[in-house]
Amino acid sequence: MARILNIVYFAWVKERLGKGHEAMEIPSDLDTISDLVELLSKQAPEYKSVFADLTKLRFALDQEFTSIDASINSAEELAIFPPVTGG
């Protein structure tokens, strides 16, 4: 059964994609964040451009920092953003 994942973007990722969030239907055989990023990169050139250098991106699943190799499993929200620079 396909799942719906909420994807949120921040900072220049949000600006360059022109949106802060989207809901996406995830194929049942999709495993990691990396797989999802690959899938998105094939969908449209702006994804391909934003995801071109993965060393510049960080990820959180259900509001916990994680690595691109993490399995999405039953997470409800994936966040994609540049390294944080607060404080």
């Binding site: 949120v8 921040f10 900072a11 220049w12 949000k14 959180a60 509001q63 920092f65 929200e77 966040a79 953003f81 540049p82 390294p83 944080v84 620079t85 607060g86 404080g87």
Partner: protein, 145 residues
Amino acid sequence: MIKVEVYADDFDAGFEISKLSALGCGAVASFIGLVRGDGDVEALELEHYPVMTQKALRDIAETANGRWPLHGITIVHRVGKMSLGEQIVLVCTCSDHRSAALDSCSYIMDRLKTGAPFWKKQWFKDGRSEWVEERQSDLDAKGRW
């Protein structure tokens, strides 16, 4: 007593510090980060990931609380657009011992720089804007704990 607040308005650092001073411990340390006029910067804009921010800051505060004998921790972080000289963040800790207060305050700031979902954009006098990049010195600072 852990207090974590994230909002757009400016805060009264003296008031926040005095509330921790009133807890009856002997040592209160604090750090205030402000918008500094690097080059032609005239404003700073802070974006964050609201659902995650509170949680990330609270986790950092709780880790500090487990590492040092603290009576109180206050973290106030602003978001939105701020002009030169405005306050961005306050971290205040109190303990019976000065080293616990000072070290935990440094620790929280170092963790906050790399472990809380905030992104800074610099606005320049000529109207340009630019997202601030991750700094190696912040990663190094986090690494020392």
